[in-house]
């Protein structure tokens, strides 16, 4: 079923576009936020804050093709701000641990090691890993989101994987 509302004014049209953008990306926003903070409440707070920030600055977006990049950037910056402000308090959901319970003991060990390695990364490194491997983004997209040259993203990625002792060739 399609039921696109065509608003009378430009403002309404813009609002529609914004809501579609949020609608399409909301799960992604939540998952990325959750990957940073590892608990539901904080992840929801981050999403809410990001949606708020996005709403009040949406009119500044010039080209529609950059919307997703822009929105993801807001979410990531909001997540990192949140972590920096709440660095001393780490609250991990039980579900985060339960998520792993479906795996065999051997896998569980391996995953725990990767997770530990992931937690030791800087926020920038972690962001690149999340976007590249979990969100399957291209390096170019990541570079746009982080507003960095592709070469820097590439170097950071390989250095990060090396630090995590992950060999992609295997």
């Amino acid at each position: 079923m399609t039921f696109g509302l065509r608003k009378k004014s430009y403002v309404k049209e813009r609002e529609d576009k914004f809501l579609s953008l949020i609608n399409e990306n909301q799960e992604k926003l939540y998952k990325i936020a959750y990957s940073y903070v590892k608990n539901k409440e904080d992840a929801l707070d981050i999403v809410q804050e990001s949606v708020y920030k996005a709403y009040i600055s949406y009119h500044k977006i010039q080209k529609a093709q950059y919307e997703k990049t822009w929105l993801t950037r807001i979410l990531i910056n909001t997540s990192i701000d949140f972590i920096n402000k709440n660095r001393k308090i780490v609250s991990i959901d039980m579900s985060y641990i339960e998520n792993m319970s479906g795996s065999s003991n051997e896998n569980l060990d391996a995953k725990l090691i990767v997770r530990e390695a992931l937690d030791k990364l800087t926020e920038k490194q972690k962001t690149i890993i999340i976007l590249r491997f979990f969100e399957d983004m291209k390096l170019e997209e990541i570079a746009n989101i982080l507003e960095l040259p592709i070469s820097t993203v590439k170097t950071t990625l390989y250095r990060t994987l090396k630090e995590m002792k992950i060999d992609l060739k295997e």
Binding site: R6, K7, Q26, Y52, I129, F134
Partner: protein
């Protein structure tokens, strides 16, 4: 460590459960954004953006389930939610119905928007501050002279959207919208009056429950004169409700608002005066209420015709009458006091108004200094509202020098 460990983590990432509260938080973010933008715009003396949501939000609610906290309830009135199509109503002689039996419904939202050439009205429903899944059993009918659509919502106990009626006036085809008296407390009825003949389509939608009325100008429609067999005009109240109820078994009455905001029951609408008169004669044998035939065309507002008024001279010659109201300056009026309707007379005194009740023969005097008077007038009659600390009285009478006289002694707003 190998690449697979990372892929395992991706599986975990993909499996992150999306909480039902996500919608609520997103809505809250959007609402905060809107408030901020409105504030900014106010500061900049720009037009305030009108809050309006879209299908995108509605779809989100549908796919992720509707589970809202009470803090979210306030949004229900502000944002229209478009559900999934259940059916497009088929009309037969201007009548149709839909929905399924439910109870405890609040008609919580009413709004207007444009889409694909249609000016649409959307009606939303909720229960306990949560959007309702399915529309309650409802009936809808379209009538002419004046052009109206009357909704009857079964299982509805409240109508919080009434506060937002003015939103409908944005719709270019809507002239007025008003609730009508319903003696059944598990039903709410309201009338949307159009400012011309309209082509309409009505959709029932679910998840969340919504009714959408699409409106277009009916350009080909030729206006017709009609003869309305109707009652006199009354205040919104039980008198009107009982009157309608006494007619409902044999007729298909509709309640309409007249030019002065009073209400009447239209028993039927006929193409010729002869037919209407014939029906009037028939009815007069069995009904104890004064009826009349009114000629109307198109959007013409029905006249405010208040119950027959006794001539002043008769009163003065009445030997039993020994009240102040027998005075020549008494005006015969219809009075509505706290929902009770009666006939009587009002006399203008130098220091106050004296109201005589024809039924219990009692007279009550109201000093000008203790009351507030508000006037509204139609073509043929006037309405005077008398407000005191503990009472609210509406007086309706035929147009005369009443206000001219009254103006000599006090101020009428």
């Amino acid at each position: 460590m190998n690449k697979n460990s990372l892929f395992d983590l991706k599986k975990d990432y993909d499996g992150i459960q999306i909480p039902t509260e996500l919608n609520e938080n997103i809505q809250a973010g959007i609402e905060r954004g809107r408030l901020q933008m409105n504030k900014d715009n106010k500061n900049n003396k720009h037009t305030i953006l009108k809050i309006c949501a879209s299908f995108a939000v509605a779809l989100t609610l549908v796919t992720a389930g509707v589970n809202m906290s009470s803090s979210f309830a306030k949004f229900l009135q502000d944002i229209p939610y478009v559900g999934n199509l259940v059916k497009v109503l088929q009309f037969n002689n201007g009548k149709s119905d839909g929905g399924s039996i439910t109870d405890g419904t609040d008609i919580s939202g009413i709004d207007s928007f444009e889409e694909e050439g249609y000016e649409n009205i959307i009606i939303n429903f909720s229960q306990n501050d949560e959007l309702q899944e399915n529309v309650g059993a409802f009936k809808v009918s379209y009538n002419e002279n004046p052009y109206t659509m009357t909704f009857e919502i079964g299982g509805a106990r409240s109508f919080s959207a009434e506060e937002n009626f003015e939103k409908l006036l944005d719709n270019k085809y809507v002239k007025d919208v008003y609730k009508i008296i319903t003696l059944d407390d598990s039903m709410v009825r309201f009338v949307i009056e159009f400012n011309g003949p309209v082509e309409y389509k009505v959709e029932e939608r679910k998840s969340p429950a919504s009714i959408i009325v699409g409106l277009k100008e009916d350009e080909d429609y030729q206006e017709k004169k009609s003869y309305s067999l109707r009652t006199q005009s009354y205040e919104y109240g039980e008198t009107l409700g009982s009157l309608e109820e006494s007619l409902i078994a044999d007729y298909e009455p509709r309640i309409l608002k007249d030019e002065n905001g009073l209400f009447f029951v239209e028993i039927g609408s006929f193409a010729t005066k002869e037919e209407a008169d014939k029906q009037l004669d028939e009815l007069a044998k069995s009904i104890d209420t004064e009826l009349l035939v009114e000629e109307r065309t198109g959007i013409e507002k029905p006249q405010s015709i208040v119950p027959e008024i006794t001539d002043n001279n008769e009163t003065t010659t009445n030997p039993e009458s020994d009240t102040d109201a027998s005075n020549e300056s008494a005006y015969s009026v219809s009075i509505s006091e706290d929902g009770n309707q009666y006939y009587g007379k009002v006399e203008i005194l130098t220091d106050g108004l004296s109201i005589y009740n024809d039924e219990d023969k009692g007279t009550v005097k109201y000093d000008y200094k203790n009351i507030q008077l508000t006037k509204s007038s139609g073509e043929n009659s006037f309405v005077l509202e008398i407000k005191s600390d503990d009472k609210n009285i509406m007086i309706t009478g035929v147009y005369s020098d009443f206000f001219e006289e009254l103006g000599k002694y006090t101020i009428v707003e």
